[in-house]
Symmetry: C2
Subunit: 128 residues, 2 copies
């Protein structure tokens, strides 16, 4: 969290962002390469935790337009780049659980969520 | 969390909601009375916690149109009513920290955030 202390130019720390501003935020690799944008966040209504950022990307790796639900725990916010950062190789991106633009992911199916968390090797946001 | 087990009609548990769907969700008192809608959520970029729901309400209690940042911890999601529930009296609503529509709340000013949390008697979302 040291990133909070290196805000240049003043004492103010803007760590809050409006939900309607997150949509469209770029998602980049640590190298700075843009791999897509955040389409929306999926929020656990009961706990108030952001469970996933849905990464929208298209025309990259010849994959067409896809939506990837990425567990929040796998994203870092990079204040300097004003972008979310995710460290996924081309191969990982192409194998990641995804759904098509006009298809509805079944958010009520926890077995699909388990697949996602296993893929990204992060703990579940539910329970615990 | 027993609410998760009483979902009627099937095994599916829809606890996730898209950020772009939360905006506009009604906010009601436990009695069912609607006191406003969620205008947006304020999300802590670094932790992924929802810090506030901004309650938009107007023409109620003669207060004009106001925006109230309410700590997430003070809202309950009522699956049956498909609304957020908050237990605030008329008097509490009229005294609550609020800002006008065209005014920008200074989200970078933590002293204002402390006032809000003290008012609603909930722990800070930051730190611990």
């Amino acid at each position: 969290m040291e990133v909070q202390t290196i805000q240049p130019g003043g004492p103010k720390i803007h760590t809050l962002i409006a939900s309607d501003r997150v949509e469209g935020t770029p998602v980049r690799r640590p190298s700075g390469e843009k791999i897509g944008t955040v389409q929306r966040l999926m929020i656990d209504k009961l706990s108030g935790n952001v469970a996933y950022a849905v990464l929208k990307f298209g025309g990259f790796l010849g994959m067409g337009q896809k939506h990837l639900p990425i567990p929040w725990a796998r994203l870092k916010y990079d204040l300097a780049q004003e972008a979310y950062q995710v460290d996924l190789s081309d191969d990982e991106l192409s194998r990641a659980p995804a759904y098509e633009t006009d298809e509805e992911f079944d958010w009520g199916d926890r077995s699909q969520e388990i697949v996602i968390h296993r893929y990204y090797r992060v703990p579940h946001y539910w329970g615990i």
